[in-house]
């Protein structure tokens, strides 16, 4: 009886609609939070921060954002890279225009600006559906990248068109710029991730989330029972872009420190984040984390395995890495099309019955 729900009674509707209705789940959740906040900041080093944890956290925000749009509202988007670029360039302009304002405010505002842009590009979703919409969002992807590359105002007319994050502080501690300690990088990302995940969870368990899911599962029926498709879809685009904008802002300001739009926010980024959602599980916040962790860790793990341990030439490992990532994606889709989150649910159901499966 490792995992049980029997004897866990609810006496109020509020208790029943909480995020982790089962007690052992709740404890595990608090344990994860305690480790993330109380242990990791003290042991983290540059490698773990920059190669694994910070990108994992930032991609988690992007994956949650895209999952709201694609997983909950059913609108497939390939414009994630472009929207992340909006977040990055917004935060850059805000940081350089108003250096006295806190970076936290700038990141949130960058999310807001991205939400506006995302909503505008979400308008065609009212007429265009399915793959046609997915391809249409590529218009946003390519156009936004072109725009940030072309218009000098966005990159303050720097010679190469690159943007670099100046040093900014939160409570006297540097969180952007070269002198940022790994724990500071990690903590600011963790703070945003925690808030974003809670907000996403709140939205998806309430009436807004039900509207999105209704649109996803059957848009015509949803409209007939009273869901306004315009506001439902646009709110999904807005909220999704808000998260993606925040992740883009952090990606630029905290993680990379300097970006070039076509390279950092190209079409590959859009696919990567979509992969995270699908491998993790569409329509699952936990899945967004699982997918982000999987796709951040997998290449690093393969590289450590191939180059450091087996001593293969790095080019062969890089090629094999493509093969392995591709094969694993296909394997996962065949074995569990609903992603890691579903795998986890199935495992839990088995655990609940363990050791007496009947």
């Amino acid at each position: 009886m490792l995992y049980r729900e029997a004897g866990d009674f609810k006496t109020t509707y509020a208790a029943d609609s909480q995020t982790f209705p089962i007690r052992s789940d709740r404890w595990r959740y608090f344990a994860v939070l305690a480790i993330a906040w109380g242990v990791i900041p003290f042991v983290i080093d540059d490698y773990w921060a920059n190669a694994i944890l910070v990108p994992f956290l930032i991609y988690s925000i992007a994956a949650i954002g895209l999952n709201i749009l694609t997983g909950y509202c059913g609108q497939v988007s390939l414009g994630t890279g472009g929207f992340m670029a909006v977040g990055a360039y917004s935060v850059y302009k805000l940081m350089t225009m108003f250096p006295e304002v806190s970076i936290v405010v700038h990141v949130i505002l960058a999310g807001g600006i991205t939400a506006l842009v995302g909503t505008a590009f979400g308008l065609p979703s009212l007429r265009i559906k399915g793959f046609y919409l997915a391809v249409a969002t590529l218009a946003a992807q390519f156009f936004l990248v072109w725009l940030f590359n072309k218009v000098g105002w966005f990159y303050n007319y720097s010679a190469s068109g690159q943007i670099s994050a100046p040093e900014r502080f939160v409570a006297g501690v540097a969180v952007t710029g070269a002198n940022t300690a790994p724990w500071a990088q990690y903590l600011i990302c963790l703070a945003f991730v925690t808030v974003c995940a809670i907000v996403a969870r709140n939205l998806t368990r309430g009436s807004v989330g039900r509207k999105w899911m209704a649109i996803r599962d059957m848009d015509i029926a949803a409209e007939i029972i009273g869901v306004n498709p315009l506001t439902a879809k646009l709110s999904a685009f807005a909220v999704s872009s808000f998260f993606i904008g925040i992740s883009g802002a952090l990606f630029f300001a905290v993680y990379l420190g300097a970006v070039e739009v076509g390279e950092a926010f190209g079409i590959q980024k859009s696919f990567l984040v979509l992969f995270m959602c699908i491998i993790g599980g569409l329509g699952s916040i936990f899945g967004s984390f699982a997918g982000a962790a999987f796709l951040v860790l997998l290449p690093v793990a393969l590289k450590v395995l191939g180059v450091d341990l087996l001593g293969w030439p790095s080019s062969t490992v890089a090629h094999l890495q493509l093969v392995a990532v591709g094969a694993l994606i296909m394997f996962f889709l065949i074995k569990e099309p609903h992603g890691l989150a579903q795998l986890w649910r199935v495992t839990k159901e088995k655990l609940r019955l363990w050791p007496f499966p009947y």
Partner: protein
Amino acid sequence: MTMKTLATAALAGLLASGPALAELVIPDLSYRTGPYGANGTPFSDGYQDYFALLNARDGGIGGETIRINECETAYNTEKGVECYEATKGDAPLVYQPLSTGITYQLIPKVAADQIPMHTLGYGRTSAAAGETFPWVFNYPATYWDAASVAVNYLLSENGDDLSGKTIALIYHNSAYGKEPIRTLEELSEKHGFTLTQLPVDPPGQEQKSQWLQIRRDRPDYVIMWGWGVQNQVAIQEAANVGYPMDQFIGNWWAGAEPDVMAAGMAADGYKSLNMNRIQNYPVLDEIRAQVIDAGNGAGDGSNVGTVLYIRGMYTAMLAAEAIAKAQELAGSPQITAAQMRDGMEALEITNARMAELGMEGIGPEFTVSCENHSGSGEGLVQQWNAAEQVWVPLTDFIAPDKSVIDPLIAEDAAAYAAENGITPGCL
């Protein structure tokens, strides 16, 4: 035990060995895959093979063996950062990312971590201002030098008068491709030529529109700032529209064998800049004999002697010379990254030394100082002979117009210093 080794242990269930002391560690952030893998591979082969030669022939540098720490970036900035973080715990001496994008990520990081970075003829031009960028070196020349060298070459071709001429710049629409624009604009004002700009979105498979425009406008010269497939397509399209190849000049990243081979005979006469003279140096034979034939080559040896291979080898030579200088300054064969930086800043490359190393005339003579991290800025013009399949040097090293470039560098460096709160000064 560092977190890196913990990670290794956790991921593979094995412990990684700690950094071995008494070695000179050189990370090689290479790219052998992805859209630019065909360019990254020969460069990296040349870079590694030269160090392998030093190990095999001289037992390293000053008695210390050199260990290469290769990490694949696929020309991707995130992987570049990951590689940097993965290798920096290993007491590396100098980074050399061969990517302008990765360079921009690493500029603040190497300053904070106090590890020097060498970006040979790429990266951030204003890093030439060593007082603002003490940890970044871009000798022997920068992009802006390249633009000026190209214009100076055209001046010499036209009796020092370009007024009324038109020059089209066809460029990789990225940070890299946009670098020369400001310099060329200044130069067009100074010399009275008209500059038209034709951006090509990477990767650059489709350039029909740009070349139809060139065919219609018939500019006197076309200068190209390209990389990867863009170069091949551009040269092919130039041949297709019948643009004269000898009026078409690529920069030094658009002048290697892969760029011209696809177009076959049509590419004959295409010109490009180079910071290295391409010829059969004695050192190449030594590499073939002591590295490739001994089975220690980074590649299969087929790249030896190509443009990018020679440039990789040249870069390695500059690093090796800086190590020797640093050992001399430090008075010990074991050096730290900070001592390596001092060695790089005191680097002096003379014709005599290059001849001694078996690569006579491979690059310009130059010295590095705290104020000038970019060396002499000289480059030469070479031309492709398609029948023989060789690059033929056309000119000697041409000096850039420092009177135009230096104020631009000072301005850009000052802006960087102001944005990042740096007080310029020598270390």
